[in-house]
Subunit: 89 residues, 4 copies
């Protein structure tokens, strides 16, 4: 399960991303240059990837590790690989 | 420059994405299952890609097309390819 | 249509990629460390992206530009955006 | 370490990818339509992702799992997350 440090770190990242989304809305309303808008979307996309990697790290450190130690790792590893695959696309 | 339909469509997408980010914050605060959080981040990432593609389409339809018609397309095409490259990474 | 310089550049890139794939086959046969194999696959993936961007640049410079100049750009731009979307996933 | 089934599966995938690269070289030599070339590159890129995911799955099943069971999982998990991050970009 998600722990306090990961929770705090992820909430901080999401708060920043929410601010970036609001900034994007202003950029679109003001009719800013399309390339600048796309580059800002790219920045948000990377911030989301970082947030996902932080949660994934915690998940491997906790749920997946516990499952492996109790010899029931296969289902958790299959689920993790499926999630990585979806995220990659 | 961004036109009314693209502006309206992009703002609608961004408003939905903002809601998804708020939903993610709740999921993290409630300590929801890590895989569910990552899958929701994946969904937001795709929504952002769709928004970026909409703006890019408009950019090619307007700025890039006008530059090509006035025989000064090279700089705009170089800028576009650089932006696609950054977005792809 | 693809021109001589893009053709030569793309063939050079593909020849290098073919060599990297053969190198990967040796790595797998020799039972090399999984992380090293994955990192090499990542390198090939980026080389492929560069090759695709080179061809895309040429396509925008030629076919898409000609279509735009002859006022029939819409179909080409739709096709291009669909291809970028597929490539992004 | 990579096991026989993963080795066989990965070699089969790489042999197919090598064939696809040769096919791409022919397409470029014959001056085929740019969009067809890019779509074929997209297909190879996905085949590479599948190969990487197969090796990653094996790596988590073996090295990472063993490290976790012997209470030295942290370094392996950090390495894995770094590799996923690189692959994602």
């Amino acid at each position: 399960m998600i722990d306090r440090p990961t929770q705090a770190d992820t909430l901080k990242r999401l708060a920043k991303i929410e601010g970036q989304i609001k900034g994007l809305q202003r950029m679109v309303q003001e009719g800013r240059y399309c390339i600048d808008i796309i580059q800002q979307i790219t920045a948000v996309r990377r911030a989301l990837e970082q947030a996902a990697l932080g949660v994934m790290r915690r998940h491997v450190d906790s749920c997946v590790s516990e499952a492996i130690r109790s010899k029931s790792g296969q289902a958790k590893i299959t689920e993790l690989m499926g999630t990585i695959h979806q995220f990659m696309k």
